[in-house]
């Protein structure tokens, strides 16, 4: 009887001790991350699937125990595309003790650049603006910058163009986000890229682009490179289609071939422009689900696992969100494998060492992620896609633009 009493006491004591122990000692460590982005407000058509991609991949990491008993807790907050809210979110994340930060817009990344450096926080924005990483040690672009994308498109059209120097117009967003690539394209021309920039147009909220398109026609513009979001591009394509100006095949004589960088394309462009999106050429470093492959399968499986609808599952911005979450999780996994404590310093070091044999291959990109002290641009490889029968189809093999390196010298 006495021994039964003793055993019961021991068991109760053990249970009390277990409950009193910190949760982490029982369930592993919790690594806190933060994401601030536009789930509502301007550009939320990109932000919404992006947030879902981030959320799903971190859930997957935790559910599949990819970090053992340790888990990632990523707080996602809507900043409505307002820098003041982004700043407040970031400061609150700092108070929470985050070890890695995911940001979103070009404006807020440029505005908070100093803050990230001051607190030494490794940061990945959804903006690929080259200016984000100028003078910053802690910002890492997920993929090739908008400049690299525009240069890549220009190089492609030079290779494919027949005849004299191709005449190109640039159709850009009236902001740092849109203007970024213009200067780098001009530098590339000085470095030998054989194109002539006829005009750079910063678009407004135009109901009709007839005048602009007719003007381009009168100036013999053959190609248009866009660096903006889908909606104005869709408007331009619809008007160009009505005017019979869209090239039926790349570089068709007396017609205009339209091309664009990451945020101009994807399924949202097809949703907005409909048939007028046919033969639109688009570049990004992400895979698309309309091209069968292991990456597309993985993306769709992840979205299905967490009950996402078709629109989110097939979005290149969902792929974008999955990718940044993968990179952050991979940095944590590597730091953990080395036996390091997980904090912003060790994760920063892991990011810098993600190159050469240590390059990381996410499922949703067309090339490896490589970072170093001098290279804060993740995936350098780009893939060209074109809309064919209402879907984006790969054109050629993935490539790395040459002039991005040439203009650095």
């Amino acid at each position: 009887m006495k021994s039964l009493k003793f055993t019961t006491c021991i068991m109760v004591a053990a249970a009390v001790l277990m409950m009193a122990l910190p949760v982490s000692a029982v369930a592993g460590n919790v690594y806190k991350l933060g994401l601030s982005l536009a789930i509502t407000g301007p550009t939320s058509d990109a932000g919404n699937p992006y947030a879902k991609g981030v959320e799903d991949y971190f859930r997957y990491v935790n559910d599949m125990k990819l970090l053992g008993d340790d888990t990632i807790e990523c707080t996602i907050r809507d900043d409505k595309y307002e820098t003041s809210i982004t700043k407040r979110n970031f400061e609150e994340y700092l108070d929470m003790g985050i070890v890695f930060y995911l940001n979103y817009s070009t404006g807020s990344t440029l505005a908070l650049k100093r803050d990230f450096d001051e607190v030494k926080m490794p940061t990945m924005p959804a903006s690929f603006h080259a200016g984000n990483i100028e003078g910053s040690d802690y910002i890492f672009l997920p993929i090739a910058s908008y400049s690299a994308q525009a240069i890549g498109l220009a190089e492609y059209l030079v290779r494919k163009h027949e005849g004299k120097t191709p005449k190109v117009a640039m159709f850009i967003h009236p902001s740092a986000f849109g203007r970024g690539p213009v200067e780098d394209i001009e530098k590339s021309i000085k470095a030998g890229l054989d194109i002539e920039i006829v005009e750079v147009v910063e678009h407004g909220q135009d109901l009709d682009n007839t005048a602009m398109l007719q003007r381009w026609k009168s100036k013999n513009v053959q190609y248009v490179i866009s660096q903006t979001v889908q909606s104005p591009v869709a408007g331009m394509l619809k008007d160009a289609s009505r005017l019979g100006l869209v090239a039926g095949k790349f570089g068709e004589k007396d017609k205009i071939t339209f091309l664009g960088a990451h945020y101009t394309g994807g399924n949202d462009l097809i949703a907005l422009a409909g048939d007028a999106a046919e033969n639109f050429y688009w570049t990004t470093s992400y895979i698309v689900t309309s091209e069968p492959g292991a990456g597309a399968d993985a993306q769709l499986a992840l979205a299905k696992r967490y009950g996402r609808d078709d629109k989110a599952a097939n979005s290149h911005n969902y792929a974008n969100g999955v990718m940044v979450a993968q990179v952050a999780a991979e940095a944590i996994r590597r730091a953990k494998a080395r036996g390091n404590e997980i904090n912003k310093e060790t994760l920063y070091q892991e990011m810098l060492e993600m190159n050469g044999m240590n390059a990381f291959y996410p499922v949703t990109t067309v090339g490896p992620v490589t970072y170093s002290k001098d290279d804060h641009q993740g995936v350098d490889t780009l893939q060209l896609y074109a809309v064919q029968d209402g879907e984006f189809r790969a054109v050629g093999k993935p490539f790395i633009p040459e002039y991005t390196e040439k203009i650095k010298k």
Binding site: T40, Q205, D208, R215, D275
Partner: protein, 297 residues
């Protein structure tokens, strides 16, 4: 010369759609002296209702278009009844602040639906090949847009000139006290003005949505884009809204066609309407056709 006439046609098309969007502002201001800041959101709501009826409820788009105008008619009337009716007699700034609040509420409600953060486009219901006449291109969507705009403008002009309700609305606009003294229900007129504004907003939303695709940011921005049109035409003038809309459309097309990209200029199509607006307001502070009120002290 073909180039010139193409710009004229495009300018008239764009201008008439501006006019249709601007009419909603005018209708409300004309009767209640309130500037509805949430007008862009109502335009977007009208476009989304048309889309939902067409695609989700499988109703033919022509019927959906009319139904969405009816729905928005009652929606705007309810908004006036719930939020604005009790503000009659309050300072005008309070009423404007309520419309700003209303803008946030409608924004929030739309963000709760897929429309807030996804892009859509209406199913094609007109021939996609444009009409070409003497080298000038115009799409069927644009033609239908212009026809609907002028039809609605014609109906409203008749309504205000000939119908008893329209005349009572004009009377309220002129003098609320005098109108009440002859038995006109001012609250009813306010409700009707909001309802008619909702109806025109839905029409504008449907047309703009067909042209640009359904993107919330693009759609609700038209509430602000047409603001110079409303000011230029005169806040309380329907013909003013039409004339100013077409003037603005033509200015934008000519600026884009002849100035942008030449003489080192860029973006004049977006800037020029505002410059012209400022110049005209210097000489005609009530707009081109606005009522010049004389206050005797």
């Amino acid at each position: 010369m073909t180039y010139f006439f193409q710009l004229v046609v495009s300018g008239i098309v764009v201008g008439s759609i501006y006019a249709l969007a601007a009419i909603g502002f005018v209708l409300i201001y004309k009767s209640s002296r309130v500037l509805n800041i949430a007008h862009g959101q109502i335009i977007a709501a009208g476009a989304y209702i048309t889309y939902a009826l067409t695609v989700w409820c499988q109703i033919p788009i022509y019927i959906s278009f009319v139904l969405s105008m009816i729905v928005t008619f009652f929606l705007a009337m309810s908004v006036e009844r719930i939020f604005l009716r009790r503000l009659i007699g309050e300072p005008i700034i309070s009423v404007i602040m309520v419309t700003i609040g209303l803008m946030s509420i409608i924004d929030g409600l739309i963000y709760l639906t897929p429309f807030g953060s996804e892009n859509f486009s209406f199913p094609a219901f007109l021939p996609t090949e444009p009409v070409v006449f003497a080298g000038i291109y115009i799409s069927y969507t644009q033609i239908v847009g212009v026809i609907i705009t002028f039809l609605l403008i014609g109906i409203f002009s008749w309504f205000f000139k000939k119908s008893t309700v329209g005349i009572s609305m004009r009377a309220v606009s002129d003098d609320q006290m005098a109108s009440m003294s002859i038995g006109i229900s001012v609250p009813r007129v306010f409700g009707l003005a909001w309802a008619c504004a909702g109806l025109t907003a839905a029409a504008a939303g449907g047309i703009i949505g067909n042209i640009t695709g359904l993107n919330f940011e693009t759609l609700h921005a038209f509430g602000i884009i047409v603001f110079p049109v409303v000011i230029l035409g005169g806040l309380d003038s329907l013909p003013g809204a039409v004339a100013a809309g077409i003037i603005m459309g033509l200015i934008q097309q000519f600026a884009s066609g002849y100035l942008d990209g030449n003489f080192g200029l860029n973006g004049t199509a977006n800037l020029l309407p505002y410059i012209i607006l400022l110049v005209i307001l210097l000489f005609k502070p009530h707009g081109l056709f606005g009522t010049h009120e004389i206050e005797r002290v």
